[in-house]
């Protein structure tokens, strides 16, 4: 089977090239690399998705090209040339952006292991295709695809630049002949690897064959694994429905006789044959019909009488005839009729798991159903959902009524889409809807009266993604609204905070924390899609775009750019840390994760000791009612200070109240002076005397003169002291006191007052000056 390599450079796909493609010297396949790039170049550039040539391969080519040509046999020498040419080609291609050579490292011993490991690791993120001629590798990749159920391919590169994928039989044959060859050559390593591999492969192949035979016999459609690994995607896209723009004529009920029930037989018709089936005990009753098991993992939906209509019959017939298959989508595979051949329902694979509504759309239920799940698991659910939606959209099928009762999920995070009969295709509208998931442009009119546009479908997709990540909360929920869903959607006032667009109306509870921990890119997409001022409000992201974004989200959760450890929790208890350097610590009381709060004024982070809950549980001060970590006598420090301390009326100092007498501290008490008996403040007192008395005490007693120098020598205080001590008051300076200076003899002393100045011609002043000079 031939495939176009251009399919594998689409977004979400990756194309790899192995060494041997470059080293092939067969002239019949010359120039095929060039053709390959010619086919792919446009898409590669458009999607920024270059072909990958791992580092290990480059190493091998480089090693080959460096070998000296001289003395080598012809084929080896041309191999060296080939390697050189290949490296040149790769350099050129890299500079044009068609190839990337930078992935991987130099450590893997064998390049074939490298590819298998890479494919294993990324199977759930990308569809991958490897170009190689090594049979062992082709077989291993085929088996990996079979065992994981993911789209992984390996094939050879034809002359024309197409990918040739061999059939099972082909691979088996070639593998067996290689084994024989290696056994002859005595290559032990290869034999040891290839022999068990072929045995497993054969077993796998045998199971496929048998399964095919069994299913064909039952008259229902093929569900062979080969169909999947050979990617019917390509065939399917060519098989898509027409993108209709006209609404069909209104629906009408069909006249049906007997509606079969449990235990009865029904007829089935499909492109691959017909048959009969017996209906088992009903599995569930929906709004429109009942679902019965019929064995083998299949179920039959039988409609209620009023829901057997022309539109449903035609829709189901169209879907059955196309024969689409996809794991996780319950495509109708056969029309079901009653014994009289009247349409009553259809056959589909049984969906696994339980409704979103019962499992992940309510925190209590979610914690019960999947207690170990982390955010990354919810992201996986989103990716699983998106893959299927994208599949349907590329076939021009619009789901129409995306809601949590039409989607199931199991513990393996696989999403199942049911209710195919409500899809919109080829002009047959989706007759039902759920207001919570209905875009503003479609609200207010009956669902069956018009065709849903892709824009409206994308609204439902975005809403569903939001509600999966935020386990059941409605995107437009807002504090201060009156709960009217239709009006909330029409107003377009998305309340969750994004960048500066803070809306004070985020709903109460932990929802805002959950929102804050989403990856910034995802938040941006949600905000711009839901908020009426957002730039995606009228051109919402497609399923493919969401798929890329969510795959990136998954990588981000595991990477180092995600610096907040609780961003992988489904129910974080606080906002996300602002930046990589924001302090993240634990509450002193209960240990829950806390994050520092940025104060733009002080430009630092504030780190309160307790989380809000513990803060609330802290004991309250009896006086002021505020919470405090430590209370003394039931009161916080502030109130205690208030209570126990007061300001002294005298000096204003803060003193303990029980030390205050008459509102005064001990320093400011009124006491009586020991000397004069007057009241004075203690602080002003010294030596038991009031300031007045004290200064008096320092004054020299002028009535007592030193017997030697005749001048006052002793302070009043000193006199009093002697008197109090019943000691004789000294009558002179202490011996040797420098102040004790013998007086000037009396004769030379002129007593001014005793002898008034004679009436002389000279003025008093001049005589004074003269005296002064002479003395």
């Amino acid at each position: 089977m031939l495939l176009d390599p251009a399919e594998y450079v689409r977004p979400g796909c990756r194309l790899f090239i192995d060494t041997n493609i470059f080293m092939d010297v067969d002239p019949a396949r010359k120039g095929r690399l060039k053709r390959l790039f010619e086919r792919c170049a446009e898409r590669i550039i458009a999607y920024h998705n270059p072909v990958i040539v791992p580092v290990k391969i480059i190493d091998e080519l480089t090693k080959q090209s460096r070998m000296g040509r001289a003395g080598l046999p012809e084929d080896r020498a041309s191999a060296v040339d080939k390697a050189k040419k290949a490296l040149e080609l790769l350099d050129d291609a890299e500079s044009m952006g068609l190839v990337r050579k930078d992935l991987g490292d130099h450590s893997n011993p064998y390049a074939d292991d490298l590819f298998v490991r890479v494919f294993e690791r990324f199977a759930d993120q990308f569809e991958m295709c490897l170009l190689t001629s090594d049979v062992t590798l082709l077989i291993r990749i085929r088996m990996l695809a079979g065992s994981t159920g993911h789209k992984l391919l390996a094939g050879q590169l034809t002359q024309d630049g197409m990918i040739q994928v061999a059939s099972f039989q082909d691979l088996l044959r070639r593998g067996q002949s290689k084994l024989r060859r290696k056994q002859e050559e005595g290559d032990r390593r290869e034999v040891e690897e290839l022999e068990p591999l072929l045995a497993d492969f054969q077993r796998l192949f045998a199971a496929e064959l048998a399964a095919e035979r069994r299913i064909r016999a039952a008259g229902t459609a093929r569900q062979a694994r080969t169909a999947r690994t050979a990617t019917t995607a390509r065939r399917g896209v060519a098989n898509a429905f027409r993108p209709a723009t006209e609404l069909r004529e209104p629906d009408r009920a069909l006249n049906v006789g007997h509606i079969p029930g449990e235990g009865e037989e029904v007829l089935i018709e499909s492109p691959l044959g017909s048959g009969t089936l017996f209906l088992g005990a009903p599995l569930g009753e929906g709004g429109e019909g009942t679902v019965f098991p019929v064995g083998g993992g299949w179920v039959v939906k039988i409609f209620d009488r009023e829901h057997i209509t022309q539109h449903r019959k035609e829709k189901v017939s169209l879907l059955v005839s196309r024969g689409f298959r996809h794991p996780g989508i319950c495509f109708p595979q056969a029309l079901v009729t009653n014994r009289a051949g009247q349409f009553v329902g259809y056959l589909m694979p049984e969906a696994k798991g339980r409704e979103f509504q019962r499992t992940i759309f309510n925190p209590r239920r979610f914690k019960q159903a999947y207690p170990d799940w982390k955010k990354t698991d919810l992201v996986d659910v989103c990716i699983s959902f998106l893959e299927k939606v994208a599949y349907l959209h590329t076939r021009n099928i619009v789901l129409g009524d995306i809601n949590p009762k039409n989607l199931m999920v199991d513990a393996g995070k696989e999403v199942w889409i049911i209710d195919a009969d409500s899809w919109q295709l080829e002009g047959y509208p989706c007759p039902v809807g759920t207001p919570m998931f209905t875009a503003p442009s479609a609200l207010g009119k009956p669902y069956s009266d018009s065709l849903r546009t892709m824009e409206e479908e994308r609204f439902a997709v975005a809403t569903m993604l939001f509600m999966i990540l935020i386990t059941g909360q409605f995107p437009y929920a807002r504090a201060g609204s009156d709960g009217d869903i239709v009006r909330l959607i029409q107003e377009g006032n998305f309340a969750f905070q994004y960048r500066e667009n803070s809306n004070r109306d985020q709903p109460d509870g932990n929802w805002k924390y959950m929102w804050s921990h989403l990856q910034p890119g995802i938040k941006g997409l949600f905000w711009n899609t839901f908020h009426r001022d957002g730039d995606r409000y009228g051109r919402r992201p497609s399923a493919e775009e969401w798929l890329r974004a969510f795959r990136g989200y998954k990588r981000w959760l595991d990477s180092g750019t995600n610096f907040d450890p609780i961003s992988n929790d489904v129910y974080p208890t606080r906002y996300r840390a602002m930046a990589a350097d924001t302090p993240i610590y634990e509450c002193a009381e209960c240990g829950t994760s806390m994050v520092g709060k940025w104060n733009p004024n002080t430009e630092t982070y504030s780190t309160p000791k307790h989380c809000r809950d513990c803060q609330q549980n802290l004991p309250k001060c009896l006086d002021c009612g505020k919470k405090a970590a430590t209370l003394s006598e039931g009161r916080c420090r502030e109130c205690n200070r208030q209570r126990k301390y007061g300001n002294c009326a005298g000096c204003g100092k803060q003193t303990r109240r029980d030390h205050l007498v008459d509102d005064r501290c001990s320093n400011c008490q009124l006491v009586t002076c020991g000397e004069c008996g007057q009241g004075a403040y203690k602080s002003q007192m010294s030596n038991g005397h009031c300031p007045a008395c004290e200064s008096r005490a320092h004054m020299l007693d002028s009535s007592r003169l030193c017997t030697r120098c005749g001048r006052p020598f002793i302070t009043l205080g000193n006199v009093a002291w002697h008197q109090r001590a019943y000691k004789p008051v000294p009558d002179s300076h202490k011996v040797g006191d420098p102040d004790c200076v013998a007086p000037v003899p009396a004769a030379e002393r002129y007593d001014w007052w005793a002898h008034p100045a004679p009436a002389a011609q000279e003025s008093l002043l001049s005589r004074l000056t003269q005296w002064w000079r002479d003395a």
Binding site: N403, P435, M436, G472, A477, G483, I485, P507, G509, N510
Partner: protein, 226 residues
């Protein structure tokens, strides 16, 4: 502490709520089997709602009794925080107007709390059950009727007026329900009524606010659509 649990409960559950207000007559005329059956019926209602997955998350129930005065027995709460009703001793007159007004006031408070927190809710239900004639204040009665009728017309309330027994004043009840005639309970078949009521709650909560829900018809002619 209890208050904190309540607000967590309200806010953690994103399911759109169905507020159901039971407004019951406990006047003297209800003495005997009537009151016993009524209490049993209410408890059956609570049990059935508790047992139903969908209704369990959505229903919020309040109970108002009226005799000579109106009293709130139970403020709105989700079913797992409700205790079953104990026996009630009927006595006194039938102050229907006061009872209905109290029920409506409680409802308004609850709606304010929903709005404040950003919780979604459906059109509330008022279940009014009486076996006699209203003989409370005329002014109160008129005010109650006016409030109910205006809310029903604005599609902000759904009313189920139920008459118990032969003496029930159906005309008075009819004044509360402008669109549909009031229902007379068959004998003392409270249990059947309340089972139907809880199934209806479940159906409403399975749909999404704004849908019209088809109620199960059996035995309740005139109540084909909500």
């Amino acid at each position: 502490m209890a208050l904190k649990v309540g607000s967590d409960d309200l806010v953690e559950n994103p399911t759109p709520r169905v507020p159901v207000s039971l407004c019951v007559d406990t006047s003297l005329s209800m003495e005997g089997d009537k009151i016993l059956e009524l209490v049993r019926g209410v408890n059956v209602f609570l049990d059935t709602v508790d047992g139903d997955d969908d209704a369990h998350d959505a229903a919020e129930i309040s109970i108002v009794e009226f005799n000579s005065v109106a009293r709130l027995i139970q403020d709105f709460a989700s079913v797992d925080r409700l205790q079953r009703v104990n026996a009630i001793t009927p006595a006194g007159a039938t102050c229907m107007g006061e009872g209905v007004n109290l029920a409506l006031d409680t409802l308004e408070n609850r709606k304010a709390m929903y709005s404040g927190s950003g919780v979604l809710y459906y059109q509330p239900w008022l279940v009014l059950m009486t076996d006699g004639q209203p003989n409370g204040s005329q002014a109160e009665f008129e005010r109650a009727v006016q409030r109910v009728v205006s809310m029903v017309t604005a599609k902000k309330l759904t009313v189920f007026p139920i008459g118990i027994g032969a003496d029930a004043d159906m005309a008075a009840l009819a004044r509360f329900s402008p669109n549909r005639p009031p229902l007379r309970l068959k004998g003392l078949n409270f249990k059947e009524f309340f089972e139907w009521l809880s199934r209806s709650v479940s159906r409403v909560s399975k749909s999404t606010p704004g849908d019209t829900v088809k109620l199960d018809l059996s035995g309740l002619a005139g109540w084909a659509e909500l």
